[in-house]
């Protein structure tokens, strides 16, 4: 078992999180290096995620490493019934690190237990996606100059949205104040509110978006994901409940930045894109530098 794996954001201490963000700043200034020369990185995508895969693969290529892997489980031996344990052992014979996306929750933790090489979790079902969380933190720090004492407004699907759950856990080191804006059906689950209370994090809840984020430093929008609903009528009721429009930003703070893990559907009107408070495309680009920092760290390469 490799001890360097990154499965969940809670695997990293505050110091480790800050070190990753520092390292990513260095990669942003100078993304093209040869520190992975001669190394092989496997990208095992048991479910397709083009955006995340391209970001990881670009990170590896810009560090001079090589890539093996698959982008769809249908083309891998798991479609023949091979266990995840066997796939991981087989791939670890060839690769120095494994970046893995899997539709089942807990797959990354299990892979990290059985793998002789480090595992980087690129998403396990609705559970964790730590590189997304770290790029969110990087985007917050870069735009606000700090992670400490910020007002963060989380909007949309707070029930199933793994990015917001991980963000709460990661931000717990930095004394945030949260506002959770969600329709009744998609409210923040009790376990995360318990987490906030336990860590002394202030939070409030609302169901209305308009005029409810005027004191926010970060407005974090999320998509309502159709695939998470058992009841599609419920999905129809809530899918378009919040749409951020440019005119709603008039009374917002000057330093406000709007984040979104993308892809968006109707949550952000395209008329927001030209507002300088819109940051979601730069946020995606930041993912590249953060993933360079993550791969370097799990492989023990000093950046």
């Amino acid at each position: 078992m490799s001890k360097n794996s990154l499965v969940s954001i809670s695997d990293y201490s505050k110091e480790e999180i800050l070190a990753i963000l520092d390292s990513a700043t260095g990669f942003e200034a100078n993304p093209n290096r040869k520190t992975l020369d001669g190394k092989v990185v496997a990208t095992l995508f048991f479910e397709p995620s083009t955006r995340t895969r391209l970001s990881f693969e670009t990170a590896v290529i810009r560090l001079g490493g090589s890539i093996i892997g698959f982008s769809d489980a249908a083309t891998s031996s798991s479609s023949k019934g091979e266990t995840l344990n066997d796939t991981i052992h087989m791939v670890s014979c060839y690769a120095d690190v494994i970046v893995m996306r899997h539709p089942l929750e807990g797959a990354a933790r299990y892979a990290a237990e059985v793998s002789p090489v480090p595992i980087v979790n690129a998403g396990d079902g609705a559970n964790q996606h730590p590189s997304q969380t770290l790029l969110d933190l990087y985007s917050i720090k870069k735009t606000q100059g700090t992670l400490e004492n910020l007002n963060i407004c989380l909007v949309g699907d707070l029930k199933y949205g793994r990015t917001v759950h991980s963000l709460i856990m990661a931000m717990s080191h930095f004394n945030p104040t949260f506002k959770f804006i969600a329709p009744e059906e998609l409210k923040m689950p009790e376990e995360y509110k318990i987490f906030c209370r336990k860590h002394g994090i202030k939070y409030s809840e609302a169901t209305e978006l308009n005029n409810n984020f005027n004191d926010a430093d970060i407005l974090y929008m999320t998509r309502v994901q159709r695939e998470r609903f058992q009841d599609l009528m419920e999905y129809e009721r809530v899918k378009n409940v919040y749409t951020l429009k440019n005119k709603m930003l008039i009374n917002s703070k000057l330093n406000l930045k709007i984040l979104h893990p993308l892809p968006r559907v109707n949550e952000i009107d395209p008329d927001v894109d030209s507002n300088e408070k819109a940051y979601y495309f730069q946020q995606a680009q930041n993912g590249l530098y953060v993933r360079q920092a993550i791969i370097s760290k799990v492989m023990g390469i000093k950046s």
């Binding site: 929750e105 807990g106 933790r109 079902g125 376990e191």
Partner: protein
Amino acid sequence: MEKKLKVAALRNGTVIDHIPSDKLFKVVSILHLETSKNQITLANNLDSAKIGSKGLVKISDRALEEDETNKIALIAPNAKINIIREYEVVEKRPLVLPDEIREIAHCGNPNCITNHQPVTTRFFVIKEEGSMRLKCKYCEREMKFEEVKLK
């Protein structure tokens, strides 16, 4: 008379008493008694002043380990466990909720890797705000004990 004594009294072993009647067979299952070769006496629906109706387990010639008896705390936190030697109670074993439980339950999340691959289940026991919850080590989902399915 002699026959009755054989069932009623235990020379050496473990007695688990005050098990709520509807939990008796869960206790049997959690301790894997169905595969045990020891002599085992089960009794159920006995009158109990405290809980109305109770179950009882006697296991001959085996003193349960603490990690085994602690599993019972998950199901029947008010059960009484006595270790017997030469017909005497030599230890009243307090029930302590374990910090972690292994193998004894299936994760309640159908999308958890442990329900699809041959993975030994592990749960962290979380005791906070007056309630007990289990957190799957793999899918990280928190659930009430009633939401997991005992193996």
